[in-house]
């Protein structure tokens, strides 16, 4: 809430620079009562926090997501982690990282014999089922044409109560060379629906964060689908070329629109150097 939305009140000090809110979703120019937050601003925060808390607890509609995937011609397989419910999931990351043994067997028996898969894809609820329901399918629509037919992509796994490392179990069960995990990130006050993409070369249980590359905040108001898909495809190509992923695989792609991204219209005599990649 910008300060120009605030009611007249002689104890309130507004901020003229609240007009800069057009450049960021951050809560700038809030104004002040003394040096503290104005009442309305404070209540808006409480409302947003309440909504974010509710979003964490909302369950993933697995059949609905599988129907969406089917509608764009993608085969899918529902799987579960060892965390049986939300409460367990939140306190036991070890269980959220582990595939139920029946599902691991199912993947091995039904799918891994079908082909040597290059890429496995896991869509997991993580901390925001809303993110997955809104963004996983539109992202895959843009990503898959960049990956196929060069790479053989396994049927999409859809997991409830899943964490990032669950992709290691899935990738291992499918004997895939690389796994992409599309997962709901922790909901923010201003973004209850951020999707994250994690890329891991040679997914096996025991991989660490240093072995992964992450593309964060995928949603129309953040990193849009097309840009996320391009970065992801760039990293996939890099992983296959170098035979690794993680901190040694650098994102030197220039998919980010630097010119637009680096303009600061409200700053006088502003110019940032153009960086030429080596």
């Amino acid at each position: 809430m910008a300060s120009d939305d605030l009611p007249e009140d002689k104890h309130l000090i507004r901020n003229d620079w609240s007009v800069l809110r057009e450049f960021t979703p951050a809560r700038i120019g809030l104004g002040r009562a003394g040096t503290s937050l104005p009442t309305r601003v404070n209540l808006q925060f409480q409302l947003d926090h309440a909504r974010a808390r509710d979003a964490v607890l909302a369950p993933l509609d697995v059949p609905g997501l599988q129907m969406q995937l089917g509608a764009i011609g993608l085969a899918s397989q529902a799987v579960k982690s060892m965390a049986h419910d939300r409460h367990t999931y939140l306190q036991r990351p070890d269980l959220g990282r582990t595939l139920q043994s029946t599902d691991a067997r199912l993947l091995r028996e039904q799918w891994h014999g079908k082909a040597p898969w290059d890429i496995a894809i896991l869509v997991a609820d993580g901390l925001s089922s809303l993110a997955v329901e809104r963004h996983a399918v539109p992202l895959l629509q843009r990503l898959l044409p960049l990956l196929q037919p060069q790479y053989r992509v396994a049927p999409v796994c859809v997991a409830e109560q899943g964490r990032v490392s669950l992709g290691d179990d899935v990738g291992e069960a499918l004997q895939a060379k690389l796994v992409l995990v599309l997962i709901g990130e922790r909901p923010g006050l201003s973004s209850p629906d951020s999707l994250g993409i994690y890329l891991t070369w040679q997914p096996r249980r025991g991989r660490t964060d240093a072995d992964r590359n992450c593309i964060s905040n995928v949603r129309p108001e953040g990193l849009d689908y097309a840009a996320a898909a391009q970065t992801c495809a760039y990293l996939v190509a890099g992983a296959f070329k170098a035979g690794l992923s993680g901190v040694q695989l650098k994102d030197q792609s220039r998919v980010l629109e630097n010119t637009a991204l680096n303009a600061i219209p409200f700053l006088a005599n502003h110019s940032l150097p153009t960086i030429i990649p080596e």
Partner: protein, 466 residues
């Protein structure tokens, strides 16, 4: 070495030092997750009882993680100073608490024993301390560092201005920087968490921050919180880098999960020192830590999360950092379940860090999947500042729109400075006064309009019509 306590008819046995420390640790979800916490409340106190009788020297003789296996253990033991340890040599952990609370342990005495205290000793004594003990002792510790201003002077509380944007938009980041500066924030560092690790983008952000700091002539430093290898690349490409950032943890294996080792930090520090960008000091490193990170990487070696956190401070102090930040509530409920656990952890981390001689800040924060809210943060903020905390975060309206969590706001810093009479770093405060943001008595002077000095650079009027 095993330990036992007899309480009434019950005898409690503890197989080794790390078991004893884990069982003595105040309750937190991460230790339960690891399966190393006390089974009952009585067992916890029994462990604390036994821990109080353990000689400090025992921590030198019984490394929690073997010397041969772990470069952090080697760093801790190889850098221990036996000369200053003579005053502590005869003490037990219980004696150490009494001494720390006594008048004998004044600021000078606490400075003198820094290199004699290992992280394990600091963690052990903290487990016997109440919140008020953690506050009282930390407040007596004096740690100052410097780059373009002086951080950690008595009566000062600094802020990291954290102008994150979901897509690293320069205009979005700049808008948050302007807001933060106009609310008197940003003396610890202006530090961006980039949305991606794209090297070109990291370099562009470094130029953006350099441009702001030069243009407004701000006595502060900048940082882009990217992996140390990216900072090295950026420096090679000639980027204007002030501080090297890295997340660190308390074991070699946990650091490996972050993709780092000690030599890598040494190399990066050396490269940053050679840039000679500091004006009043040469502390060029910015570290972040947080309880639970080692367990999260399955690299905790059966050691409790608070002790592992203290071990990360041994890594930090080997590189003379400008700032060390415990990001206490970011990791989630599986490690720190609720506001109560977060508050205690933040004060423990600050105490241990200060005792070891570090410029400890605290990211007083929580995520939306933890049982905590703004009231919990207000309590930690107030207690942290009373304890003499070095710096906190400052972000617009407590809402980090990139990292999706809540930390302290620009307003929060002003609140706590007001109630406790605290000031920003002196060089930065003079800049605030010179630019009409603070008045001569340190109060916020801005009205609705931009101060004159900002009107020279910013063109708000053009935005109105859009």
């Amino acid at each position: 070495m095993n330990f036992s306590t007899v309480l009434g008819h019950q005898t409690y046995h503890f197989a080794d030092l790390k078991t004893l420390l884990a069982k003595a640790s105040p309750a937190r979800s991460g230790d339960y997750l690891a399966g190393i916490a006390a089974a009952t409340r009585e067992e916890r106190v029994a462990a604390q009882w036994a821990l109080a009788d353990v000689p400090l020297a025992a921590f030198l003789q019984n490394p929690l993680i073997p010397y041969e296996q772990d470069e952090v253990t080697r760093l801790i033991l190889d850098s221990h100073d036996p000369d200053s340890f003579t005053i502590l040599n005869a003490m037990t952990v219980g004696d150490f608490r009494n001494w720390l609370l006594s008048d004998a342990a004044d600021s000078n005495a606490l400075t003198a024993i820094r290199k004699a205290v290992t992280p394990e000793m600091a963690a052990a004594v903290s487990k016997l301390m109440r919140v008020q003990d953690l506050i009282l002792v930390a407040r007596k510790c004096r740690v100052t560092t410097a780059f373009r201003n002086t951080i950690g002077l008595p009566g000062c509380l600094s802020t990291r201005l954290q102008p994150n944007h979901p897509t690293d938009s320069a205009a979005g980041i700049a808008a948050s920087i302007v807001d933060g500066l106009l609310y008197g924030n940003g003396d610890a560092v202006i530090g961006i968490n980039p949305a991606t690790d794209n090297i070109q983008q990291v370099t562009t952000l470094l130029h953006l921050l350099d441009d702001f700091i030069s243009r407004f002539e701000i006595p502060t430093q900048s940082c882009v919180l990217t992996h140390v290898t990216n900072s090295l690349l950026a420096m090679e490409q000639g980027a204007p880098l002030d501080l090297v950032f890295q997340s660190i943890a308390g074991s070699e294996a946990a650091n490996r999960s972050f993709g780092i080792h000690l030599d890598m930090l040494k190399e990066a520090r050396q490269a940053a020192l050679e840039l000679k960008r500091g004006t009043v000091g040469n502390n060029v490193m910015y570290f972040e830590t947080g309880q639970g990170s080692a367990l999260s990487a399955n690299a905790h070696h059966g050691v409790d999360q608070q002790t592992m956190e203290a071990r990360a401070y041994a890594v930090a102090r080997a590189f003379d950092p400008l700032l060390v930040n415990t990001v206490v509530g970011f990791i989630g409920p599986e490690y720190l379940y609720d506001g109560k656990q977060i508050i205690r952890a933040g004060l423990e981390d600050h105490f241990c860090g200060k005792l070891l001689g570090l410029p400890m800040g605290c990211d007083i924060c929580y995520t939306n999947h933890v049982e905590a809210d703004q009231d919990d943060m207000d309590m930690l903020l107030t207690q942290f500042a009373v304890a003499g905390g070095t710096f906190i975060m400052g972000i617009p309206g407590s809402d980090d729109v990139m990292l999706n969590y809540q930390t302290t706001s620009f307003h929060d810093a002003l609140y706590v400075r007001q109630v406790l009479g605290l000031k920003p770093a002196p060089e930065f405060e003079r800049w605030l006064v010179r630019n009409g943001i603070f008045n001569e008595t340190g109060g916020l002077a801005t009205g609705a309009a931009l101060p004159d000095s900002f009107q020279k650079w910013l063109r708000l009027e053009q935005q109105h019509g859009q």
